[in-house]
Amino acid sequence: MRNLAHIYDEVKKLFYRLEDRGYKPDDEHEAYKAMNDPEGIPIGIFYRREDKPSFQERLAEQNKNIWPAMNVSSLPRETVTELLYEFS
């Protein structure tokens, strides 16, 4: 069997950590540049923004306003079970 132990040490040398270079992942243009760095393979977080709500958060908000009765988690379990039996 081949000795594979050296592989990871060798491959690891190809990478550099973004955070070690003081990189801040809050700029889209900087992220694009880092992703296309011809000098090496960067690892770390390229881009991150927390101000954009997720689809599930927006859906919950919309359902709360439009269809309050569709909030299944607030219904008694028996009600849901009875409903499911109608489809069995």
Partner: protein, 208 residues
């Protein structure tokens, strides 16, 4: 921290000795423990490929789906039960080829799922064919004279699609990998983690 054995499965991985996916599995378990997630709060979804066997090797809810389709399954689970932590795991053929359209739209919608793509630049399970991230000139069974196709750049593509968390890490650096996953778990929205995960059997540039 939770008991380290909490996520230990009874099933042993059947990956090749030296496969990068062992490091991914270890980092994922570590990140879940350090994030205080309990197995009943977590669902791991996968597609088809060597890496997509991962849900079987971790004691949490799992769904081994169709080729290229872990993202729509994960989105469905998260939408039905937003209290769950939903993580999709797959390979580069699965997510950057067959199912890449789903990844683009999940990024656009900012679906609250985490996607770990184990990128080895080749189709490994089917014994070494060209994948979307294979390098120019790379010799595979389907490119015996070397690939003449430029590789896909998935990270800039997802950035352009509106992705809100985009990272890359290396399976041979489990501490860094675990940290990236922990940060992704804190993120409120879609997180793409491109995991460089060497295939020691079919992608010989790393192993010669």
């Amino acid at each position: 921290m939770l008991d380290p054995r909490l996520y230990e499965s009874d099933t042993r991985p059947d990956w090749c000795p030296g496969c990068g996916d062992f490091g991914v599995l270890a980092a994922l378990k570590d990140a879940l423990l350090k994030s205080g997630k309990k197995p009943h709060e977590v669902v791991i979804v996968s597609g088809i490929g060597c890496s997509s066997n991962l849900p079987g090797y971790i004691k949490a809810y799992g769904f081994h789906g169709l080729h290229g389709r872990p993202v729509p399954v994960a989105v469905g689970i998260k939408t039905a039960n937003p209290r769950l932590t939903v993580i999709a795991t797959a390979g580069d053929g699965d997510e950057y080829g067959i199912g890449f359209n789903h990844v683009v739209h999940a990024a656009r919608r900012n679906d609250d799922i985490k996607l770990i793509v184990m990128n080895n630049e080749i189709y490994g399970l089917t014994t070494g064919q060209l994948s979307p991230t294979s390098r120019l000139g790379q010799k595979t069974k389907t490119s015996p004279d070397g690939s003449i196709i430029y590789p896909l750049k998935p990270l800039p593509t997802i950035l352009g699609a509106g992705g809100t968390f985009i990272a890359r890490t290396f399976s041979g650096d489990p501490k860094h990998f675990s940290w990236v996953i922990q940060e992704a778990l804190k993120h409120r929205g879609f997180a793409l983690i491109d995991a460089v995960s060497p295939c020691v059997t079919w992608h010989t540039y790393m192993t010669k």
